[in-house]
């Protein structure tokens, strides 16, 4: 039986709302029986329509790395954050710098992070990033000591409302070393 577009849209909206985890297009498609399944394109169109409909609401449907989810718009955080007694721990500069290097330079070793920052990377910072599941070991560099190669995870993208790494703010351009040499001479 073919379902009406309005019904499909309602199912999508309620599924994204009811799911504790973000839902991918595939997961949404799987909710429908074979004969009632909308096309992928139709589903994506309906998601777009929903996003437009929510444009005037305090909630929004956003696509992040793990799929679609409902979230409260950032501008309401001053009020909504009061629902929770303990604030999320503020990310220290050391942690953010370490995370930035891993995100832009992945996969990297700890030694490479230290070379850029000029200080030893503390074990607590790396552990805290692992605890948040923002980074993983993706392999080992085949050099003596086989240092672990670190990379960011989908959870990291989700936490910063990013779909892909390409959405990270661009890294400032480095002035060409040769140009620097010329200026120096």
């Amino acid at each position: 039986m073919k379902l009406s577009t309005a019904l499909i849209k309602n199912v999508i909206e309620s599924a994204v709302f009811a799911s504790p985890e973000p839902l991918t297009v595939d997961e949404l498609l799987n909710l429908f029986a074979d004969e009632e399944k909308p096309s992928r394109l139709q589903l994506q169109t309906l998601l777009k329509e929903l996003q437009t409909e929510y444009a005037t609401r305090p909630l929004e449907i956003v696509e992040i790395a793990s799929g679609y989810r409902f979230q409260v718009r950032a501008k309401f955080s001053p009020w909504i954050s009061k629902l929770w007694h303990d604030k999320p721990p503020k990310l220290s500069r050391a942690m953010l710098e370490t995370l930035a290097i891993i995100a832009y330079r992945q996969p990297v070793t700890r030694a490479e992070i230290e070379a850029i920052r000029g200080v030893v990377v503390s074990t607590q910072i790396i552990k805290a990033l692992f605890d948040r599941e923002w980074i993983v070991v993706v392999g080992h560099r085949e050099v003596p000591g086989r240092p672990a190669l670190l990379a960011t995870t989908r959870e990291f993208l989700d936490a910063f409302s990013l779909k892909t790494l390409a959405e990270l703010p661009p890294l400032a351009a480095l002035r060409d070393l040769e140009a620097i040499d010329k200026e120096l001479i």
Binding site: V72, A94, A100, I116, R117, V119, S161, L162, L168, I180
Partner: protein, 279 residues
Amino acid sequence: MSVSEFKPSDVLPLTDSVPQAYARVYDEILTQLPEDLYIPPDALAVFLESFEGPLDLLLYLIRKQNLDILDIPVAEITRQYVSYIELMQELNIDLAAEYLLMAALLAEIKSRLLLPKPAQAQAEEDDPRAELIRRLQEYERFKQAAENLADLPQEGRDIFIAHAQAPVRDILPSEPFVGDFSLLLNAMRDVMQRAQLQQSHVVAEGGLTLEQRLQEVLARLKTGATIAFNELFTLQEGRIGVVVTFMAILELLKQQLIELVQEAVFTTIYVRQYGLGET
């Protein structure tokens, strides 16, 4: 006052306001501080903590004076850098070794700049500052990237996930099995009876060991899965297979590696890893 509110510029216009003799007369450093310049030691600790290492401190010194990173006056920067370091040491702040290494590096660069260079080698030899400049630039890029990252909307800080609270739907009771042991034996008898029906299909000797079966059962439950008691048995293995599996289950129970749960008498008994129900 929290660390984040603290601006380094509030505390230490050190090299600007302190006479030149300051850094030279080691013994008199503290007495020579102008009286109006009170620096509480704690504030200095905070000041130092606000730097993420020697590169960060250097960048601060360079930026504070609007100097071009590509053309650092090494002598001047070194002097300022060292005076900060000395003051910190004077106040017994435990300096990371990297700060001292940077001071040594600056001194080396300065001395290399002073050395006359052989005429023909000059073209090939890099400016001694080049490597430091490269590192400063690279660090500054990621310092900026970290700030950009901090500005992104963060889950739990700026963004709050909205979803309906799913009703609690515990399919299995979380209490461990406390029923009559005969229930387990009944279940066992059922399996044995079914195995008997299939026994004629057994052709070769199974060669089953209890040890092996222990591992297999554990492996199936490793993922946190809950498996029906019956499903652990492979009827095609015949009586021996069933007995070995049953012994394995009993042994794992005894070792508290698995636990059995049953919702009500005569319903299916489930097997799972020990302690899963408590979380």
